[in-house]
């Protein structure tokens, strides 16, 4: 083969192996697609890298956390109240205005004057022609917390400490004292970790008496501004020092509604019977007992929260002998007697949202000084209250909802009440009736506005110091703002 032939052959082969123009275009297109894919991939990688946590980010979070820990520790040491044990601090205050149709004058304290606010506690020593006043009914602060927490069974030990500040009668310049009202420790000998089991607590110290309904209802929960007359008159509303067992059994727990109902609730205790913040004045320990029965119903029963209760208080009291006008003992009278102090209570409670009804009967039996001896005096009280709620704050489910703002299920609660107190049933025409119509407006979690209109008829027999068989009539309006924290 000649050299020229070889060159020609090679040239022909090269032409045959070379791609056609169409193939080149296709290849170029593929290259462009590949280049675009490569660019897209690079973009995605960059994007992913941008969104990934890198070392600097971790360091930043760590620094922020350390700064927060330091700030928290410093604030805790310098700006936060601390205690050895966990404490819940609550309190409340009631500011009010009252006006009555019968102006009060000290000189006319024979019945010509009405007590605006229905109480004498905040009255100055001298009052002249007053028929309306502002006042602060009272304030309290309460500390409660755990002394020992049993994580396994809930047999906990807790405490309560409460001070009530009340205006003082007759002070030249209004003073008030912070009185110790609650001071007790509470132990739960039975487990409390489940709601469907019996409960029992033992309370030692100064506490309210488990007597009836009204005496156990704190001002924050009571619909009426002023307590029923018998609470103060019979003394069942005052704190006593002693040991009280409170428990229940026959539990029905409706888990479909988280509703707990006990067939029997019981209370039994021994107390001094001499009131708060002082030792006993005799050697007898007074007995307090209360039992209430509630039908074991499911939540969706019309009998839900229908309860019948009986209360009994048996005590002895020291009675000063009767004296004459000059303060001298009557002939034959002893300096002191020891007499009976008994209280009997019967109550009916029906609270079926949105309405409720309560009725309470109380009888007091007291030995009182009379002549050279003592005699028995019996008093009776009837209190009935009917209320209705427009709004849902009394439903636990409605108070505990997810909400970002300072949510509260605003509620209006109108009510009516009848309250009779007869201090001595042997004397006819000797009782005081108070009719109250009112409205409570619950507009924030711990704040409510109250308006009470009362019509009071005070009948006094002909033998009384200021007799009025027809009855003194006092109409009063009380507006109160009660707020707590």
């Amino acid at each position: 083969m000649s050299r020229s032939t070889s060159i020609l052959s090679l040239a022909l082969l090269a032409i045959a192996a070379a791609p056609a123009a169409d193939d080149i275009a296709t290849l170029e297109q593929r290259i462009q697609v590949l280049e675009k894919s490569q660019k897209d991939l690079l973009d995605r990688i960059r994007s992913l890298l941008d969104s990934q946590v890198v070392q600097e980010d971790v360091q930043g979070v760590t620094n922020s956390l350390e700064s927060f820990k330091y700030q928290y520790q410093r604030d805790r040491e310098t700006k936060s109240p601390v205690s050895v044990r966990g404490i819940t601090i609550t309190g409340g205050l009631a500011a009010r205005y009252a006006a009555t149709n019968r102006s009060k004058t000290s000189a006319g304290a024979d019945g010509k004057g009405g007590n605006a606010n229905g109480t004498a506690s905040a009255n100055p020593a001298i009052v002249n022609g007053r028929n309306n006043t502002f006042d602060v009914a009272g304030a309290f602060v309460n500390f409660s917390g755990s002394l020992y927490r049993d994580y396994a069974e809930g047999r906990n030990l807790t405490f309560n400490l409460r001070f009530d500040g009340t205006p003082q009668t007759g002070a030249a310049i209004g003073n008030s004292f912070a009185n110790l009202t609650n001071a007790n420790v509470v132990y739960s000998p039975l487990p409390t970790t489940s709601q469907d089991i019996d409960r029992l607590t033992i309370t030692l110290g100064q506490q309210t008496l488990p007597f009836g309904l009204e005496a156990n209802t704190t001002e924050e929960l009571r619909p009426v501004i002023n307590s029923a007359q018998f609470v103060g008159a019979t003394g069942v509303g005052r704190r006593e020092i002693g040991l009280v067992f409170r428990g229940d059994f026959g539990i029905t727990y409706d888990y479909g509604y988280n509703y707990r109902s006990s067939l029997i609730s019981y209370n039994f205790g021994l107390v001094n019977g001499n009131g708060p913040n002082r030792a006993d004045d005799n050697d007898y320990k007074d007995i307090i007992a209360r039992v209430d029965v509630k039908l074991p119903t499911e939540y969706n029963s019309w009998l839900r929260e229908l309860r019948l209760g009986v209360s009994y208080y048996h005590g002895r009291q020291v009675i000063a002998g009767a004296t004459n006008a000059a303060g001298a003992l009557l002939p034959g009278a002893s300096t002191y007697y020891e007499g009976a102090r008994k209280r009997y209570g019967l109550d009916l409670y029906y609270n079926h949202f949105p309405f409720g009804f309560t009725y309470e009967f109380v009888r007091s039996v007291d030995d009182v000084a009379a002549g050279s001896s003592t005699t028995e005096r019996r008093g009776n009280s009837h209190t009935a209250t009917l209320f209705y709620s427009f709004g849902s704050q009394f439903l636990a489910s409605q108070r505990n909802v997810g909400a970002f703002d300072d949510y509260w299920p605003k509620t209006w609660q109108p009510f009516v009440r009848f309250d009779r107190w007869d201090p001595d049933i042997k004397i006819s025409g000797n009782h005081t009736d108070i009719y109250t119509v009112g409205l409570n407006a619950f507009f924030a979690e711990t704040t409510k506005a109250q308006l009470n209109l009362t019509h009071k008829r005070e009948k006094l027999p002909s033998g009384a110091a200021r007799p009025n068989t027809a009855g003194f009539i006092t109409n009063e309006i009380i507006a109160q703002l009660q707020y707590g924290f």
Binding site: D196, G256, Y299, A396, G402
Partner: protein
């Protein structure tokens, strides 16, 4: 003449419009049995949660000016029941099977309209250093359960499935947030919960020793959309539109292309995206989000009523047929041409072949 008639006719037309408007309530009250993981935020998961979060009911009734009052209950199903029993709600959105059954068994008339979340899993978590490796190992121990919720019924079924009884344990009634805290502080030996247990494991304070994943569908938990009988009878047209919205949103939440978005949306509750991802595993969204009232649904509730009675969670049984009202969802499916969007399941929870053309298989 026309000048006289025109204003009269206008007034008549307006009057008719006003009278017509009287057929609508001014406010519709909807309850949801839960809050965010923080125990506070008004957010939820499942179809019920996304409808609330997106304001879809409000959007639907914007023209009529109907307001919606949503209430998110910290106390879950039992708290919702309390409000429902006291006439404070019209709809219960996402109410669990047991609280709904308890509520109906107590004699209060409601109507189930559609399924919400279904086949939900149950997990039992223990403190990390617990020696327990199974449910059997927890005999005699303190377990936390949010009693009264659908977890209670699931727990009762689990006990039966494992040949155990409640007396084998000390079961304490804790809400979910408290129970998670108690696991972290080791105050309890175990917590019976849902996918919220994963956060305990992820924080290194908990370990899962039991799951219903992979077990019989009988153990799954259901939730529903239900309405009070009074509302349903008074406003059937409103109920239909509510269910229409429900079905449309359930379709969105069942679409696998939305899987990540769905989990992100539920993540607003405070629960991690990864928790939902793990809980759903290979399950399709539709297998949990289907609103259908299929055979599995009926059988679940029929057995649920009997089980609740057997486990003494209710005092008497009742007729399921009078409780479930399928006409609204059937109409909604027809209107939106979604009759074949979800797989139907037989009574035992097995998919019925050929019952769907799109989403809905049990596994992906």
């Amino acid at each position: 003449m026309r000048t006289i008639l025109h204003p009269i006719l206008s007034v008549l037309v307006s009057a008719v419009a006003v009278l017509g408007a009287a057929d609508y309530p001014t406010v519709i009250r909807v309850g949801y049995p839960g809050v965010g993981n923080d125990g506070y935020s008004p957010v939820g998961v499942s179809t019920a949660g996304t409808i609330a979060g997106k304001g879809l009911f409000e959007e639907e009734f914007k023209a009529e000016g109907i307001k919606f009052e949503w209430t998110f209950f910290k106390g879950a199903g039992p708290a919702l029941n309390e409000s429902l029993a006291n006439g404070l709600l019209d709809f219960a959105s996402g109410l669990g099977d047991l609280p709904a059954i308890v509520h109906r068994a107590s004699g209060i008339e409601t109507r189930i309209l559609a399924a919400n979340a279904r086949r939900q899993n149950t997990y039992i978590v223990v403190p990390t250093d617990s020696p327990a490796k199974s449910l059997q190992d927890l005999k005699g121990k303190r377990l936390a359960l949010f009693k009264g919720t659908n977890g209670s019924l699931a727990w009762a079924k689990i006990l039966k499935d494992e040949n155990l009884t409640e007396s084998d344990f000390k079961v304490l009634n804790f809400d979910s947030a408290t129970a998670r805290g108690a696991i972290a502080t080791k105050d309890i030996d175990g917590y019976i919960g849902g996918s919220d247990v994963f956060q305990l494991r992820n924080r290194g304070v908990g370990r899962v020793v039991y799951t219903t994943v992979g077990r019989t569908p009988y153990l799954g938990r259901f939730t529903t959309l239900l309405v009070t009988k009074d509302f349903e009878q008074k406003y059937p047209q409103i109920v239909q539109r509510i269910v229409n919205v429900w079905v449309k949103e359930a379709a969105w939440g069942s679409n696998e292309s939305n899987r990540s978005d769905v989990f992100k949306y539920w993540g607003k509750s405070g629960q991690a995206w990864a928790d939902f991802k793990e809980d759903y595993g290979q399950d399709t969204l539709a297998s949990h989000q289907s609103p259908l009232l299929d055979d599995h649904f009926w059988n679940h509730y029929r057995k649920g009523i009997l089980a609740a009675h057997e486990f003494k969670l209710i005092r008497k049984t009742f007729d399921l047929d009078s409780w479930v009202e399928p006409k609204y969802i059937n109409e909604a499916l027809r209107l939106q041409k979604l009759e074949n969007n979800w797989v139907r399941y037989d009574a035992d929870g097995n998919p019925i072949a050929g019952s769907a053309t799109a989403a809905g298989a049990v596994s992906r």
